[in-house]
């Protein structure tokens, strides 16, 4: 089948035989687009492996034109660690995960991969809830946010959100962490820069790299796409500030 090319579609974005099930205004698609561009611009198409967790973004495992595996909910960093140790330094091993995937069920593999200084890269899409299963509490849900399992808003009883980029950045084995967002074209470019830098840290064998990407979930936030973007700017970014939190060229 010949590939239909639509203006703005990255070269590595594949035509797939099923409908892409992202809701209107969801930024999971934007994130996949950024990933396609970053891999392409770094010339890593032929030597990248994408390890994709379980969430609304699981589709990324068939959307990006690189070798890819759809694997257990939460275990991407275990799987990527073992792969990297076998395929060696010339293959980029990338995990693509959500906030629930990487920080709740996958907390153990994420933290230990970081602590072991695995030469892998994690991209984590933080939309403040579990999109796939209908909008439940996630480890990133801000206080006060109504989810289907915090129907009266998250309160102290359910604890406090995890700021992953800062927290993971505090581990010695980590080469790079950053947090980006897609609320404006400028932010999109900045986030792409973070993603590139993270992959370069892996390429150069420095250590574990991690980029958190703030994203929208209009369907479960019960907001329009535009209001969702506004919410990220006004409520989420103040709690999850954008920027780089760790950036070293050598771990000793």
């Amino acid at each position: 089948m010949e590939k239909k090319w639509i203006a703005g579609t990255p070269r590595l974005w594949r035509d797939i035989p099923v409908i892409i099930p992202f809701c209107p205004g969801c930024q999971h698609g934007t994130a996949v687009k950024a990933l396609c561009e970053v891999i392409d611009e770094l010339g890593m198409e032929k030597n990248s492996v994408l390890v994709v967790g379980i969430g609304c973004y699981t589709m990324a495992s068939i959307l990006v034109d690189v070798d890819s595996a759809m694997i257990a909910h939460g275990r991407a960093c275990d799987i990527a660690s073992a792969m990297k140790r076998i395929v060696g330094k010339d293959t980029m091993v990338i995990t693509w995960q959500g906030d629930g995937d990487a920080l709740a069920i996958g907390c153990e593999p994420t933290i230990h991969a970081a602590a072991r200084s695995e030469k892998i890269t994690t991209f984590m899409i933080n939309n403040g809830n579990y999109g796939t299963t209908g909008g439940q509490l996630a480890p990133t849900t801000p206080l006060g946010q109504v989810t289907t399992t915090t129907p009266f808003g998250r309160n102290q009883d359910q604890g406090y959100p995890i700021q992953a980029a800062e927290f993971i950045g505090s581990l010695k084995g980590v080469a790079y962490t950053a947090r980006g967002a897609f609320t404006s074209p400028a932010n999109y470019q900045k986030t792409k820069k973070y993603m590139k830098k993270a992959l370069e840290k892996q390429r150069d064998g420095v250590g574990y790299s991690f980029v958190e990407i703030l994203s929208t979930c209009p369907a479960n936030w019960h907001m329009s796409p535009l209001d969702s973007l506004k919410r990220v700017e006004e409520e989420v970014i103040p709690l999850f500030p954008l920027g780089e939190f760790k950036d070293v060229d050598k771990i000793e």
């Binding site: 797939i16 035989p17 099923v18 198409e45 032929k46 030597n47 990248s48 492996v49 390890v51 495992s61 068939i62 034109d65 690189v66 070798d67 890819s68 595996a69 759809m70 694997i71 257990a72 275990r75 275990d78 799987i79 990527a80 660690s81 073992a82 792969m83 140790r85 076998i86 395929v87 293959t91 980029m92 153990e108 593999p109 230990h112 072991r116």
Partner: protein
């Protein structure tokens, strides 16, 4: 001449894996298999092979998933509680059709000593979805060494996880092991491996999924196409891979059925019984799945009585029951017949002989 070593069963696992060209081991400490993970920690890195201590058995089995994705031979080992934690991973490996080997050194429910209490869990597919795994049950250090190699071969042949079922007695016991190098025959290329497009002859991407059938692929355009393929695989294994040993079966009126260390105990009881002129035989399943049902059924049809001997509260006896289809009497010697009612207790030949004599009289 091949080398011979005097080693523990647990160490024999390591030597078997090395000979099978295993390239990665991922494990988490648990008694009574610690010598296995320690063997790999010692022997693998210096040979340029991957060794990684995980943060849990859920981690180990997923690291095995990662290693298997790259197309090389990888394995883990654990004991009973760790095995329980691995079940989601086992289901995923079976669904994604990834070959790998798991050595399960059973402990007695949750004591740290020996038993055979995980028979049902390993043979039934303890996770979700209804998958099956070939289960090999060695009875000595030599067989641990041999079966780890066979397990890798079968895993590659069927693209499915294979379990080697050991226990604390087999793992801890020291025996002579001949480092032989069996040739099982050719295997297909692992053209499906996830290693980056640069490594594929056709340059096209490869995709592996734990949800086969969910998204249409040329091989599996819908869910039932995948399920049908998986069922065919199970049926083929059932037809081709049943392995067992028999002793003095032809004229036997009473047939012992036992696996693992208990098969050795039962063989001793059998020889003592024969010395007394009692017509006793033994069927020792080597594959616990697929189970040697036909051999058992044949004997049942000829009027034999069965005595299942197993160091648990009665698990394999259910498979023997299915095999005989109500055509024979089945009796049981189980963990409650140990010489001492404690962790250190074991099933002794005397106890089995006692039961044999009571049944044949």
């Amino acid at each position: 001449m091949t080398d011979r070593l005097l080693i523990q069963g647990n160490e024999a696992v390591g030597w078997g894996a090395l000979n099978a060209d295993c390239r990665g081991f991922f494990g988490y400490p648990i008694t009574p298999q610690n010598e296995i993970i320690e063997w790999f920690a010692r022997e693998f890195p210096k040979r340029g092979r991957a060794f990684l201590q995980s943060a849990s058995e859920t981690g180990s089995i997923n690291m095995v998933h990662g290693g298997a994705l790259t197309g090389v031979r990888v394995m883990t080992s654990t004991s009973s509680p760790g095995w329980a934690l691995m079940q989601e991973g086992m289901s995923n490996l079976a669904n994604a059709e990834l070959p790998c080997v798991i050595v399960l050194v059973q402990r007695g429910w949750n004591t740290t000593r020996h038993a055979q209490t995980d028979y049902t869990s390993v043979t039934q597919g303890g996770g979700y979805g209804g998958y099956k795994t070939i289960v090999l049950a060695p009875k000595s250090a030599q067989e641990l060494y041999d079966f780890v190699q066979l397990a890798f071969y079968l895993a590659d042949k069927y693209r499915n996880p294979v379990v080697v079922l050991s226990d604390a007695i087999l793992g801890q016991m020291m025996e002579a092991v001949e480092l032989r190098n069996p040739d099982f025959g050719p295997l297909p290329d692992k053209d499906w491996a996830i290693t980056g497009k640069a490594n594929h002859k056709d340059g096209n991407r490869r995709f592996s999924s734990i949800g086969q059938g969910m998204l249409p692929t040329p091989k599996h355009p819908n869910l039932c196409a995948f399920w049908g393929d998986y069922k065919n695989k199970i049926d083929t294994i059932k037809k081709k891979e049943v392995r067992y040993e028999t002793y003095l079966l032809d004229d036997a009126e009473l047939v012992l059925v036992a696996f693992g260390y208990v098969a050795r105990v039962s063989l001793e009881a059998l020889l003592a019984a024969r010395n007394k002129g009692l017509k006793v035989g033994l069927i020792r399943p080597i594959t616990l799945w697929p189970f040697p049902s036909e051999t058992i059924r044949d004997k049942a049809k000829k009027g034999a009585t069965f005595l299942v001997v197993e160091d648990n509260m009665g698990q394999m006896i259910e498979d023997v029951g299915v095999a005989v289809q109500g055509q024979a009497e089945i009796h049981l010697v189980n963990a409650l017949d140990r010489h001492l009612p404690i962790e250190e207790g074991a099933i002794y030949p005397e106890k089995v002989l006692e039961k044999i004599e009571a049944l044949i009289k």
